[in-house]
Amino acid sequence: MITIETLNASGKRPVLQWPSEDGAHVPYRLFFEREIFDREQERIFRGSNWSFVGLSVEVPRLGDYKSTYIGDTPVVIVRGKEGEIHGWVNRCGHRGAKVCRHLRGNVRNFTCIYHQWQYGLDGSLLGVPFRKGLKTMHGMPADFEMSAHGLQPLRVGSYRDLVFATFSDDAPPLIDFLGPEMTPLIDAVFCKPITFLGITRQRIKANWKLYIENVKDPYHGHLLHLFHNSFNVSRPTMDVGNRLDPRGLHSAIMGIANEAMHDTSIYVSDKVGTFKEDATLADPEVIRARPETSPQVKSLVQSIFPSLVVQRIHNSLAARQIVPRGPDEFELVFHMFGYADDDAELADMRLLQANLVGPAGFISMEDGEATEIVQAAISQPGNEAHSGMFMGRGAPEGHVSLITEELIRAFWRGYRAMMAD
């Protein structure tokens, strides 16, 4: 067994043991221990990564704002005077109250309700009541600096319509963080102006990394999400493409339409119990896709570490945000969008195809259940067991497959490096 000193080398607890170098075995402790969660907040979410915080079209006008999270820290993004987007930690510079108490809206400035401290859109402190005192009563001391008590600013960066923020001055430029493997795929989705269609939210009682594993796991797709097979939405015989960034943290899985996907014989020969030859939809409109790319990308699930998944499922487009809410819970927020030049039919198709994804998604709802049953089974304090992921292990580098777990193993190698002392 290879021991890699990852966690708490100076503390009382024994270090975490990774049974293999390549990420095929993942200790279950990573999914339920508070100490690990806290370290992730520091190293990953408040570290030198860029977290997805929203779409630029969510805050189109001056003063438009949105409350969200980076990891478990509440933050706000706001459209400023020059069209720039500001971001700051949603915590008053005075006594720590949440300054912005609404999900979204439009304001001229922000006021903390507790003592009426007032902030500009950029988070700078503009006003403190009774700063100079009142009649004979003393106010703030003479050395009180307004500029030292503003809201904690974040670095905000946009790539196309995706808005990211980071706590870190050391984070590389956003475009380098995304990297040349990932940006062409983002470019293809955000190829023209988009319109915001709304939000759906799912609260899942599982560790956030179980969802990261899920979106890097093409192996489960056709086995868990039976809607695919049952109603001929997609088959593992379609052309596939995988992408991985050099750190292993970002990845993408694509399914591309071809002729062979109508061949169902592999299910018969492999005895996959979940496939039903004769199931048809009474109204197939929900799975009718209009090609928007050439060749037609039937599905794209692109994971941008740590908090974004870009999705194209037929004509359903979304930026999914992963918001951890403690070691054993996360919220999955789907930001659904279309294009500004959608004709009426395509706009209607996107609304109908929203049935495919989200909390009630024909081909996605099971992910909530799958991650929860893992969490429920592994979370006993002191559990030293680990998972085992060997699918596609030993395949040559660059091997493309829909039944591989290599993207997950690569993720764990990158994660381990980031969490190590």
Partner: protein, 163 residues
């Protein structure tokens, strides 16, 4: 023809109450294959978060534009989808008949869904407001459109059983 004993609006209210009783029994007893029978052929059914509804954003989590799409949800529930075993209990209150016409009734009501899963605990799964347009065809009420606007915008795990 004899004068009806009850004023038309009160009669309609009793009819709606009867209809909701049947509808809820069907779902709470998990007789989901009978659920499409409560809808007219051109019916629409939609579940949307209050967050989107109030912001005028069009995305729903569950949208059917005709009864065949409603039947497909049933087929998917029975044949394809995987979800935790669950029992739902509907509670309905503050029923308002906002417009009563000869063969058409517009109804708004509050609803709550209590959900019990395998751990044996009962949770408030959803609370919201239901907007119905009911039509009378062949002597019985059917749903022409139903819009369910849920306050509980963080959906617990997933949404599979219709409400």
């Amino acid at each position: 023809m004899a004068e009806p004993l009850l004023p038309p609006k009160l009669l309609a209210r009793l009819e709606v109450e009867e209809f909701y009783g049947d509808y809820i029994a069907c779902l709470d007893e998990a007789r989901i294959e009978e659920w499409p029978d409560f809808f007219a052929e051109e019916a629409s059914y939609r579940v949307v978060s209050r967050e989107n509804w109030e912001a005028g954003l069009p995305i729903s989590i569950f949208l059917c534009r005709n009864r065949r799409q409603i039947q497909d949800r049933v087929a998917s529930y029975l044949e394809a989808n995987i979800y935790p075993d669950q029992w739902n209990r509907h509670l309905i209150s503050a029923v308002q008949l906002t417009d009563v016409r000869e063969n058409e009734i517009f109804v708004a009501s509050n609803y709550g869904i209590l959900q019990t899963r395998q751990d044996g605990e009962t949770r408030i799964y959803q609370s919201g407001r239901c907007y119905d347009r009911l039509v009378r065809t062949d002597g019985r009420l059917r749903i022409h459109s139903r819009e369910l606007v849920y306050d509980t915008h963080a959906v617990a795990t997933l949404f599979v059983m219709p409400i």
